[in-house]
Subunit: 346 residues, 2 copies
DNA sequence: TTGTATGCGTTATCAC
DNA sequence: GTGATAACGCATACAA
């Protein structure tokens, strides 16, 4: 049997007031008499009443629904983001609608707009690399829809963005490698069409150059951030002679691929080869040997983005500006890196 | 500027028909003249019109929103499920609202009901171990809400369930171990309050007993399906003397923990110790050595559950019954298991 | 085959 | 401080 849930009318009737008054109570209006408020709240509790969000949305064009738009193969990253977003959502009374999409699709922008319009989302959080698409951001702005992007570069106003400084972090990794004595270093980049990829590569190069080290062209491979391409790139890199003494991968997944190949080829890590990743997702600490990497505070970024989002929805842009828009990734040293053992002049 | 999206009234006006007719076209009614239909569809396309789901929901008590309820620490599992569900959702015009919850919470049932009522979800898919809670299932049934549970045991009608036969699969693993010559086998179970845990343990025991092998009490440890507890259990198991020659863990995460500890203790895998997991999530094939495990077709289960769900929403129970309610996990042999090397009489 | 009128549960506009 | 009443956009009895 279908239990029809109670409505604002039931509450109004039982409390002996008009539904307008109940509405006031629900929305915390100031202009309600104390005795009236208490009485209404009592009935609400008794009935376990909660407002129908559809009706509410129809009347006020609010849905209490947030969207998450992404095209990312990394399950661990996505999980981290979702948990961060959901913590804030549930605390503030929003629900989360997930929406994977295809970065390269020609209809991406229209797809996302339809998604938002159909479900009348109050706002969307966009994850990299989709977040780097200016066409999407502009469409969102034109449509007057609140949005927040997670990115590696500050490509938008503070109210629309939460960025991690990947460039500096990669430079820190370079410094660390240099101080371990590595000179012949290889790099597995992400897709060059992604800003997160170029930022990390640039930062790494910059950091190395401060120590007079250059990244040779033949020591740079491009993967697509998956474990599989990490393996491919590693195979290619580790078939070169002489071997590089260290490999820095654009993310942990690919670094894990390097570990796998090195193991297959009998190349001892970190004795013969140092390997580092980027992200510090769950994988990094669980792989053998545990991965030296850059810890990106993904969950925190997700929380900031969600908070910021709800600020612009419920308060105003100024409040949203207050929420931090930048986080700093940090170096985490584990077992996969060590001082270069024998440094033969090349 | 906020682009107010067009409504059914706009379409009706421009097409020169009543909105009732437009409604018919939208919902694919048979009784609409061909010329009228074409005209209306043309306008719809021009306006890029799509019906407001809130208004539609208010009028017809449908939201085109599906919910996913879970309390599971395994990001890889969740990702797999979400992808499976979303493939069907997007194809059939539904959106997915994710809703993590706490299995042990006293207010779990009420929380879930509120979630469903607030957002007027058309149905929910429930993941283990929450799916094993009869109290929730009954509440859902009482509320008249369509639901489908993913489980390891057929604890509900066919229209409400998609089950994987974990018991048989675990028995198969036992057979495999026995045929490799293992006699002294250890088992790391999941929480005994979960049916998925007891099913796998029972199946494993049953399978072993067919070969006259018993699981000794001191060789059974209980973890909570996380990597961390896998490590704890492994430490305890691998400090015993003599060592077991094989360890079967309730899932891949914990098996990965065993691999880690064995590596730290210098116990060669699979030479000295065979290790196997359950699930075959991404981790299993990426860990070193790659894990022998039971492949559970998670994505497929998610697709079946979603299809079944939408069947009961849009068609009827009979249609839902047709959708397969059972899948068979299969053994996947990789590098972490081998014939027992030296079999000393204990 | 097509149109009219009403209701879904809430918020918002006004008056009292 | 409170209450009628009109939207909001759509679906659906009921008529024509």
């Amino acid at each position: 049997m279908i239990q029809k849930s109670s409505t604002i009318n039931d509450v109004a009737r039982l409390a002996g007031v008009s539904k307008r008054t109940v509405s006031r109570v629900i929305n915390g209006s100031m202009s309600v008499g104390d005795s009236t408020r208490v009485r209404v709240e009592k009935i609400i509790a008794e009935l376990n009443y909660s407002p129908n969000t559809q009706a509410r949305g129809l009347a006020s064009s609010r849905s209490y629904l947030l969207g998450l738009i992404y095209d990312n193969p990394d399950a661990l990253y996505l999980d981290d983001v979702q948990r961060g977003v959901l913590e804030i959502c549930s605390r503030l009374g929003y629900e989360l609608v997930v929406h994977p999409c295809r970065y390269r699709s020609e209809t991406l922008v229209q797809d996302c707009l339809n998604f938002i319009n159909r479900s009348k989302l109050d706002g969307v959080i966009v994850l990299p690399p989709v977040s780097e698409l200016e066409s999407l951001a502009e469409a969102l702005k034109d449509a007057g829809r609140p949005y927040v992007r997670l990115t590696s570069v500050a490509i938008d106003e503070a109210k629309h963005i939460v960025v991690s400084d990947d460039r500096s972090a990669a430079a820190e990794m370079a410094r660390y490698f240099a101080q371990l004595g590595h000179q012949d270093i290889a790099f597995i980049s992400g897709p060059q069409r992604y800003k997160s990829s170029t930022e990390r590569m640039e930062g790494f190069k910059l950091g190395l150059s401060a120590y007079g080290i250059a990244l040779k062209a033949e020591r740079i491979m491009e993967g697509n951030n998956t474990y599989e391409t990490g393996i491919e790139c590693a195979r290619s890199l580790l078939s070169q002679s002489p071997l590089p003494t260290a490999i820095f991968a654009n993310n942990d997944q690919m670094a894990a691929g390097v570990l796998k190949v090195a193991h297959q080829m009998g190349i001892a890590i970190p004795e013969l080869l140092s390997v580092a990743g980027f992200d510090d997702n769950l994988l990094a600490s669980r792989v053998i040997p545990a991965l030296t990497t850059i810890r990106r505070p993904v969950r925190q970024m997700a929380q900031l983005a969600t908070t910021k989002m709800i600020m612009v929805i419920e308060q105003n842009d100024k409040a949203a500006q207050q929420v931090a828009a930048k986080v700093a990734p940090t170096l985490v040293v584990r077992e996969s890196t060590a001082k270069v053992s024998v440094s033969l002049p090349s």
